[in-house]
């Protein structure tokens, strides 16, 4: 019978056995390591009456009557201090010696609160470390001593992962090292290469396709045409109007249309083989503008006609309001097509997988791809697996199929792994652009500057295919009147097919265009009344509880006025300052089913976050990690974010509509709450293989709802941006104040704002995508992309006042960052030279003739 105190508890033990064995096998104190079992290594160091001693050379009888301490018995503060100091100093590598090392350190520090380097060296001379060379361990002990004697931990680089913390992005290191894999970085045994032969005319009838010569090329593996498509040839997220390949007898609709697909043993031969394919066309005159397309005599681009969609947003009575308003003004604005110019060109790699197919992609939604590919191949969805690699930028331009379906078709046909990567030239021609729009906008106000009515007619050039043209037009209309009290609105929009490249999703989703018109009008009204551009916005800005132009009641988190107030002083201080506001929804809204989904799976003591939410650079994986940390108290190191994979990660929708932080964030929170409950009783290790599922549906009212105050969207972000010019008319400074609800990671939010502002500056001043007879003339070098030396100082102000607990109060930030910039620039130039510009990119500035 032996008695001793173990970590302040009295223990009675019958047998006389090795004390290390007792600690590990009987008392379950596994911090005490068995490194050698012969008293040499010190990994089993414990304190016996305050003195560091090796457990392996003690017995239960020899410690009888003594006080024993192991790592488990340290106070909470000591645990934190030592672990912080060791992590901070980088003193932990394999970690096996660490507990013993800390025990030796404690033995020292308890008696000497300010040990010298020599003291420390002497204290750990019985502990062997093979990894670190001791230098960092000595440093760590020094740090720990400072902490313990001061009673404080100076946390500099330790992250809890909680909300609001600027934790480094979880993928930053891989990306920095260049080891983050994008699809084109992949190589698979037996892989071949694919490419599409594109039409040489924007509009032409395909009369014949002769592949005989091309098939003789030694490197050819396969050539396929429309007749080889096993499933539905027409694809498209909403309207299925986009043929994966143009059939013989059919008309091409834009220059990016594909006529044949080639698979070759090597990349270099693709062009040679394509050149051997003989296609005869009957060239037809392209319909190169909505005006041409809307003529009664115009040929039909699609069977359904040339109008894709008509949209109307109407409340109150604008004509009546115009009659009774002191000031009414009308302007016509012209907005160009613009190109996303994400830095990674589209790439996909498809390979046969049993009875089905696996496709590696880098897009904005793996389930969109799964659906489109399964329909195209005529395969059930469960046989199509889509997995995302890193995505090198998207901005809306990677929502549609561009290469994924072609890679899948070629792989299905050849039964080989096939990679299809677009050249930059193809990328510029193929994927949908920001819609060009022609907008006539009328705004009226009373003598105090209170907006009384807004009317607009919007004609959007939706190009050859629907893509997301319908919803883009709808957002352009629903958001056109801005974040203001405006009781009478009448906005009519029309999206028209042409033979130009398709118009589709692009950061801002139509609102970038319509808000340019309404915001510019406000500046002129302010001038007529004799108040500032800031003042007219402040007088009309929506307050919580008031009715937005779309009828929705602004919620308590609405902070547009706060964003204005944040910029007042700077606005007034500068001579050439332009200002503009915007609102932007988070989520699809208007009654469209919209789900965020997340599954947390515990594997090997780590939480795996599984959602299909695409990160195309905005950092959603870091956001979901922080939400799990916040909800459960776990640390970033406890978490792994798995890549989107249609076989593993639940469908969390597309990374579009600034929705992922809110939708997938909320779903992640719901899953994490379930995990948290289990963690009250169990450790992560004990929860091995258990899954925790969270799903959030954003419930909204349909666009044609009969309610007085429909909920069109679950949340809106608000923003005001200020653009300041110097005396030479060059950009001097941009200050962007954004109501983001609650910033999950402020560094990420700043990154979104800064990037969005520069994109907005380009849209305002330099970016263009000119077309001549439906033929795009831009090369990468002439798109007008801002370079680093072009940019002014950019200051971001984050306003956080949201009270909603959805996703901890986060609202979207991705798109709104680009919306107010262009009208703010326009306003600044109006002040600078008195020219009221009606067209983008602005002409006659420092940046463009």
């Amino acid at each position: 019978m032996f008695e001793f105190n173990l970590n302040s508890k009295k223990v009675v033990f019958e047998e006389d056995i090795n004390f290390l064995e007792y600690l590990r096998e009987h008392a379950n104190f596994t911090s005490v390591k068995n490194g050698c079992g012969e008293g040499v290594c010190g990994a089993c160091m414990i304190l016996v009456d305050g003195k560091p001693t090796r457990a392996c050379i003690l017995t239960t009888s020899s410690v009888s009557g003594k006080n024993i301490l192991t790592i488990e018995g340290l106070s909470q503060f000591e645990k934190e201090a030592y672990s912080w100091a060791f992590a901070q100093a980088g003193a932990v590598q394999c970690g096996f010696c660490t507990p013993g090392m800390i025990i030796s350190a404690k033995g020292l520090i308890d008696n000497n609160s300010n040990p010298s380097k020599e003291d420390i060296k002497a204290a750990i001379k019985g502990n062997i470390c093979r990894c670190t060379g001791y230098v960092k361990i000595i440093e760590a002990i020094k740090l720990a001593a400072t902490c313990i004697s001061s009673g404080k931990i100076i946390i500099r680089k330790k992250f809890s992962g909680k909300i609001g913390e600027r934790i480094p992005r979880i993928d930053a290191k891989d990306k920095i090292l260049g080891i983050a894999q994008f699809v084109d970085d992949m190589k698979i045994n037996d892989m071949i290469y694919g490419s599409a032969l594109r039409s040489i005319y924007p509009r032409a009838r395909v009369l014949s396709i002769d592949i005989d010569e091309a098939l003789k090329h030694p490197d050819v593996v396969a050539i396929i045409t429309a007749k080889d498509i096993p499933g539905n040839r027409f694809i498209g997220h909403i309207v299925k109007d986009w043929p994966a390949l143009i059939a013989i007898g059919e008309e091409t609709r834009y220059l990016g249309d594909s006529v044949a697909l080639v698979a070759a043993k090597n990349k270099q031969s693709l062009t040679e083989i394509k050149n051997l394919i003989k296609v005869t066309y009957e060239e037809l005159k392209p319909i190169s503008s909505p005006a041409m397309a809307m003529k009664a005599s115009s040929p039909k681009i699609h069977e359904s006609g040339n109008i894709l969609k008509v949209e109307r947003v109407k409340r109150g009575n604008v004509e009546e309001a115009f009659k009774n308003s002191k000031y009414v003004l009308t302007n016509h604005y012209s907005l160009p097509f613009t190109e996303h110019a994400f830095l990674e060109p589209e790439s996909a790699l498809a390979l046969p997988d049993g009875e089905g197919i696996t496709v590696y992609t880098g897009s904005q939604g793996i389930y969109d791809e799964q659906r489109e590919i399964s329909e195209l191949l005529g395969l059930p969805k469960h046989l199509v697996r889509t997995i995302s690699k890193y995505v090198g930028g998207g901005f809306g331009g990677k929502e549609d199929m561009s290469v994924q379906h072609h890679a899948a078709l070629l792989s299905w046909y050849t039964k080989k792994p096939v990679k299809v990567t677009l050249s930059r030239k193809e990328s510029i021609i193929v994927h949908p652009k920001r819609h060009a729009m022609e907008i006539t906008a009328t705004t009226s106000c009373d003598e105090l500057g209170n907006i009384t009515a807004f009317k607009a007619s919007i004609v959007a050039d939706t190009g050859a295919y629907a893509s997301l043209g319908g919803p883009v037009l709808q957002r352009a209309c629903t958001h056109a009147a801005g974040p203001y009290r405006c009781p009478n609105v009448d906005i009519e929009g029309m999206a028209v097919y042409t033979n130009n490249p398709p118009g589709g999703a692009f950061r801002g989703f139509g609102v970038t265009q319509s808000v340019f018109a309404s915001e510019c009008n406000l500046n002129l009204l302010a001038e007529k009344i004799g108040i500032s551009a800031w003042e007219i916005r402040y007088r009309n800005a929506i307050l919580p509880g008031q009715v937005l132009p779309n009828g929705q009641i602004a919620d308590n988190g609405t902070a547009i006025k706060e964003t204005l107030v944040a910029l007042k002083e700077e606005y007034e201080k500068h001579k050439y300052s332009g200002i503009a506001c915007a609102m932007k929804n988070s989520g699809l809204g208007v009654g469209v089913p919209d789900f965020g989904r997340c599954k947390l799976v515990i594997k090997d003591g780590l939480v795996h976050i599984r959602t299909s939410a695409a990160c195309m650079g905005q950092g959603v994986a870091t956001i979901t990690s922080q939400i799990v940390c916040e909800t459960t108290g776990l640390l970033p190191d406890d978490i792994i974010v798995d890549a989107p994979d249609s076989f593993l990660t639940p469908d969390s929708g597309t990374s579009t509509a600034s929705r992922q932080t809110l939708f997938t964030g909320e779903a992640t929170k719901l899953a994490a709450l379930k995990l948290k409950e289990r963690l009250l009783k169990n450790s992560l290790v004990e929860l091995e293989s258990i899954e925790f599922y969270g799903e959030y549906q954003g419930i909204t009212d349909p666009i044609n709802s009969s309610k007085d105050h429909p909920i069109s969207h679950v949340a809106y972000g608000y923003a005001t941006q200020l653009v300041i010019l110097d005396n030479d008319g060059k950009l001097e400074k941009v200050i962007a104040a954004h109501d983001v609800g609650n910033a999950i990671n402020p560094t990420n939010v700043e990154g979104q704002i800064e990037g969005g502002v520069v994109m907005g500056l380009g849209y305002a001043l330099t970016e263009d995508y000119p077309l001549i007879n439906s033929v795009p003339k831009a090369k990468f070098g002439t798109l007008g992309l801002f370079k680093s030396k072009d940019i002014p100082e950019i200051k971001t102000i984050i306003i956080e006042k949201n009270t909603s607990d959805l996703a901890y109060g986060a609202k979207g930030i991705g798109e709104i960052t680009s919306i107010p910039t262009a009208p703010a620039v326009q306003g600044a130039y109006y002040k600078f030279d008195g020219k009221f510009r009606l067209k983008l990119p602005l002409e006659g500035t420092f940046y463009r003739k």
Binding site: R169, I176, K187, L343, R424, T747, G751, G781, L785, K789
Partner: protein, 160 residues
């Protein structure tokens, strides 16, 4: 086919290649270093930037044959195993990475700049990376990252 020898990240590589093969293809496809990215293939975006004999080049505009005998640094040559280059550390800390596609080229331009002029002013930094397009960040955090990298490098030199 012609034989060329290039020293990439300190290692010699000899290959028989098509004389028209671009340096970027040599790096990505022959040597299989995938950190170097192709963004435009026309010398505009800078995603394929590598350091050749101390100067940055767009590897899409250089023929591998004309680089015969040259010393090349790619992104893979900057870090030492898991030990990051101070520029890389700085970019992570400041949040300069979003989609990440421009980053390898951006880092190499930064390195070439700081190797030549460690005290580069903000204007010189912007000039130094003006050949590298970034569509995500608006450059602000990248410029900040370069400034932090300057401090880190200066501190580490003082530490020596």
């Amino acid at each position: 086919m012609i034989e060329v020898t290039l020293k990439i990240n300190g290692k010699m590589y000899t290959r028989k290649i098509n004389p028209m093969l671009r340096l970027i293809d040599f790096i990505r496809d022959e040597i299989k270093l995938k950190g170097t990215k192709e963004g435009c293939g026309e010398g505009e975006c800078g995603a394929c930037t590598v350091i050749m004999n101390g100067k940055t080049v767009n590897s899409c505009l250089v023929l591998a044959a004309s680089a015969n005998g040259a010393e090349i640094t790619t992104i893979e040559g900057l870090s030492n195993g898991d030990h990051l280059h101070p520029i890389q550390e700085a970019f992570i800390e400041v949040g300069a990475v979003q989609c990440g596609y421009c980053i390898p080229g951006m880092i190499l331009s930064t390195k070439a700049l700081l190797d030549e002029n460690l005290d580069a002013t903000e204007a010189q930094i912007k000039e130094g990376i003006s050949g590298n397009l970034c569509r995500c960040t608006g450059y602000t955090k990248i410029v900040e990252g370069v400034k932090i990298a300057q401090k880190k490098i200066i501190n580490s030199q003082e530490g020596d």
